[in-house]
Amino acid sequence: MEAPTPHEVEVVHRTLTDHLPILQVIIPLLAAPLCVLLRERALVRGMAIGVAWTCLAISVTLLQHVMEHGVISYAVGGWDAPFGIEYRIDLLNAYILVVVSAIAAVVFPFGRGGEGLALNPARVHLFYAALLLCLCGLLGMAATGDAFNIFVFLEISSLASYSLIALGRGRRALRAAYSYLVMGTIGGTFFLIGIGLLYQTTGTLNIVDLHDRLQPVIGSRTVVVAFAFLVVGLGIKLALFPLHQWLPNAYTHAPAKISAFLAATATKVGFYVLLRVLFTIFGATFVFTTLRLHNLLLPMSLAAMFVGSLAAIAQTDIKRLLAYSSIAQIGYMTLGVSMGNVDGLAGGIVHLFNHAMMKGGLFLVVACVVLRTGSAKIDDMAGLGRKMPLTMAAFVVGGLSLIGVPATVGFVSKWYLVKGALERGWEPVALLILLSSLLAVIYVWRVLEVIYFRERPEGAKEVGEVDATMLIPTWILIGAAVFFGLRAELTSQVALDTARMLLGTGL
């Protein structure tokens, strides 16, 4: 048989496999309205889980494909870029897709039905509809290669997450969702303004095309202004200090299962889009040589690390403690970016994955605790070490990983970050990374001491271990934090390749 000519490849229509990039996004999008139609609790839950697992299977296939054959470009509706919308899967977003869908696949089955959500049973189907929309938005942001399309999915995921947070108990949850809505909208608007300015300058929205067309006009005022709007807009989305103000309340008052999902995915995708904007659209040379972004990003990251950790030490609510710790961890990620070298950037990227696992796992532990004790106060966790040994052991392992103890994933990220800092000649920064880890020791220990060394007060509610539907997802995430800590080469290799790709060619 003769080899087909390039023209024929375009026309020969695709098998289902070729449609994977879009299926990834379409399936949860279509499943969401189905949830509303079906209404039946068990059915809806089963479907949501099925969708999450399907997405995971798709994203793993995509990652394998990208690793073997390189970038996948998919033109939506057959309209080729730059006129149509292109879905472009390279190593970086294939990796993000796996992270997001894997977290979804583990977190969605957590707990039976609306258990632990304190939901009106009649509204469980709406909850799953919002959850699926949120997943769809996050996957869409990661998969698309079109800047405006990113904005659309950003809004889908944001709107879904506002409603999910508002599901939390009491009026405070509503207020937290409202603040998040205001801040999120400011962020979204900034992002849109940035894209608008770029479109005005270049006449294109395709990311790769944007990069090429920006090169002749890269130093112009419009481009710099666009850059500032984009970065600050995304800074709000990924809760970069001091733009993090929405995060502590949102994570504290949302149902714990939602906190787990959002903490592990939403800020991570925001970070991914930041990488795209910095390295793919503008290119490393412009960002680090012309603008010297690190002059601003480095102090912000360090402030995030220390303010976040110190605030975590002072909190009395375990969810709020984890939320502030997230702010510190996001600081580590942007710190890696600000280094602008392969090791630092790889440290940031691998920390994205690692933090998703450990923070997701820790929030699930909290979800178990809240379900059993009805409280998220640290003091109310006294003596739980005996009552809920398996759940609390998961907290210990997750906590050790937050600190960055060797044999956990937290160590891997910090290793690369320290290496990157030293390579860059920033010895004091390396020292600060180690110092901030010590702060993590303190806030993790505070909780462990209450759990293990304080007796359960007289007359406290009698509590027992949670069931397998909660323990298994929790331990999958926590176990992964150890597994990938021991087999660090699995993730760090992808991160290093990605970092080289981002820094090397600007693509």
Partner: protein, 583 residues
């Protein structure tokens, strides 16, 4: 398979699992784990190496040789005895801290590279502080914080030194000694004067120096050890400082600078020990003095001196632990270890009295006790290498040791005037631990050959016999004249009563006037230093308090801002990012 387990890990992992166990199982494990760890460690061959790689770096988790082996053995024994000693108390915090702390120290001893060493070095710092905090008083909390700052600071220096060294050489391996001939050994980082030392050498030197309580870096020791719990002090006394001695011995053997440093360490704590009333603090000073002998031994760096250091560390851990156990038992039963409030306890605590006296005899290096067969090696090595001044200082210090540990401790606690306290004998588990330690102190003094067989260099080749006429006579002269002076001063009522102490080494070294000056200087230094330290910590605490307030809920950084403020923050950030393009 079993070779793949690094020594110390059994204690660390077991210790971490303890809180999950019921009370009775915890107690059994507390004793069984050190024993199991020892059994596992002993069967590792002496050239055993366990390498692992983190990313692209090849590190050495375990490297067994005779030096690491002897320290590993005594650390396990110390952990075992302390575990028995603390059995009467059911405090999971102390049990976990004690086991992981000793496990960390053991793992550090076997570390084959600087990075692995650093990891366990910090592990000992972080775990041990809980033994101080376990007293659960405001005072112990602050003391613990100061202790932690020093210990973690030591670790940071070590890491910094390792990184600088790696940049220079591309390796973090801990190299064996270089044999310079004439029985002289030289460690990988050894240097003879501060002028010639490289940055890496200096950083690591001070990292070790803090933990080994070098003069001026020592204060954490006397500050922290007396504040720990009854059992906590016994845990603490065994590991941290001896780990530092081990590390110095491995990497700085033969450094001439260590000889004056060590000599100073043997001498200056004596002045403090004389004026101190808290008997556990007296022991802390005396611990510092004992470390001085080992530092001198490391500095001399001959085969005999290194053997002396290793065996002295071995013997010292046992008798110092025994003394701390004795004082701990007194504290546990009488509620105080103030010399002025105790006395006459021998009637109520006869066994404790006997065991503590054995420890006192051992630390004073009486013939037939363990201190004698180890310390004389260092003294002889100093004389052999013509360090005459050092030799004299060590001799003076030996008399001082006899005074403050050999006489002062048992005398004020158990004899002297009867304080009228009605107390019970120490609990059985304490007596067992003390009994074993006392038996070992005497056993080593008489049947020293098994200990000598463990030493890094072959003792027969060094033609060393502990019990020859010269050694025995010198030591007996020293001790008997001290004792005679003590009795004499006692009968004449000449010893300064307000200090609640006697000074027997006066006949040997200095006249009374000189002694008063020394005491006054010691006190002035102490007051000056304490004031300075309190001021410094006052300021530091003020800053810490403010940071805490800012980050607590209600403070500007501990709570999300109102939406308006958050939006303004976004606007300001936008301006800053815009400014990037114009700068």
């Amino acid at each position: 398979m079993i070779e793949q387990i690094p020594p110390g890990l059994i204690l660390i992992v077991g210790g971490l699992l303890l809180p999950l166990m019921p009370k009775e199982v915890r107690k059994v494990l507390l004793v069984v784990l050190p024993a199991a760890g020892l059994a596992h460690m002993i069967q590792l061959p002496t050239d055993h190496v366990l390498a692992y790689s983190v990313f692209d770096y090849d590190l050495t988790m375990v490297k067994v040789d005779k030096l690491s082996r002897i320290f590993g053995i005594i650390f396990h024994i110390a952990a075992f005895l302390t575990a028995i000693y603390t059995l009467h108390e059911d405090d999971p915090v102390q049990q976990v801290a004690g086991l992981t702390y000793s496990g960390g120290a053991i793992a550090a001893v076997f570390a084959g590279d600087l990075i692995t060493l650093f990891v366990f070095w910090e592990a000992t710092a972080i775990t041990s502080v809980f033994l101080i905090w376990a007293s659960r008083t405001e005072r112990s909390y602050k003391t613990g914080m100061r202790y932690l700052v020093m210990q973690v600071g030591s670790g940071v220096l070590l890491l910094a030194g390792a990184i600088v060294y790696f940049q220079q050489t591309g390796s973090v391996d801990i190299e064996p000694w270089t044999d310079l001939g004439h029985h002289q050994m030289r460690g990988m980082f050894a240097f003879d004067s501060f002028g010639e030392a490289s940055l890496a050498q200096l950083l690591i030197f001070f990292a070790f120096g803090i933990k080994a309580a070098f003069p001026l870096l020592h204060n954490w020791l006397q500050d922290a050890y007396p504040e720990a719990t009854v059992g906590g002090t016994v845990w603490l006394s065994a590991f941290t400082t001896k780990l530092a001695i081990y590390a110095l011995c491995r990497m700085y053997a033969g450094s001439d600078v260590l000889i004056p440093i060590g000599a100073t360490m043997t001498a200056f704590p004596i002045f403090y020990a004389v004026i101190e009333n808290d008997l556990r603090k007296v022991l802390a000073y005396s611990l510092n003095n004992q470390l001085g002998y080992m530092v001198v031994g490391v500095g001399i760096g001959t085969e005999l001196a290194i053997n002396g250091t290793a065996s002295h560390a071995f013997a010292h851990i046992l008798y110092k632990g025994l003394l701390f156990m004795g004082m701990g038992a007194v504290l546990y039963r009488a509620g105080t270890v103030k010399g002025s409030e105790l006395g006459g306890l021998w009637r109520q605590m006869p066994y404790t009295t006997v065991f503590t006296s054995v420890g006192a005899a051992a630390i004073s290096a009486f013939p037939l006790f363990s201190g004698f067969v180890s310390k004389s090696m260092i003294l002889t090595a100093a004389a052999n290498e013509q360090h005459i001044i050092t030799f004299c200082i060590l001799l003076f210090a030996s008399a001082g040791v006899f005074h403050h540990s050999g006489i002062k401790i048992p005398y004020f606690a158990f004899f002297a005037h009867d304080s009228g306290k009605k107390v019970k004998e120490a609990p059985l588990n304490m007596l067992i631990a003390m009994g074993i330690a006392a038996a070992l102190c005497i056993g080593i003094g008489i049947w020293y050959q098994p200990l000598y067989d463990l030493l890094p260099f072959d003792m027969n080749a060094l033609h060393w016999v502990p019990y020859d006429t010269a050694h025995v006579v010198t030591q007996l002269q020293l001790l008997l004249y001290s004792a005679a002076a003590f009795v004499f001063l006692q009968k004449m009522g000449w010893y300064p009563p307000e200090l609640k102490s006697t000074n027997v080494d006066v006949e040997w070294v200095y006249r009374k006037g000189l002694k008063d000056v020394a005491l006054a200087t010691g006190r002035a230094l102490d007051v000056g230093y304490t004031t300075f330290r309190d001021e410094l910590f006052g300021v530091a605490w003020g800053i810490v308090e403010r940071i805490k307030r800012w980050h607590s809920p209600g403070g500007p950084l501990g709570e999300p801002w109102p939406i308006g403020a958050a939006a303004i923050a976004a606007a300001i950030m936008l301006i800053l990012f815009l400014a990037l393009g114009w700068l």
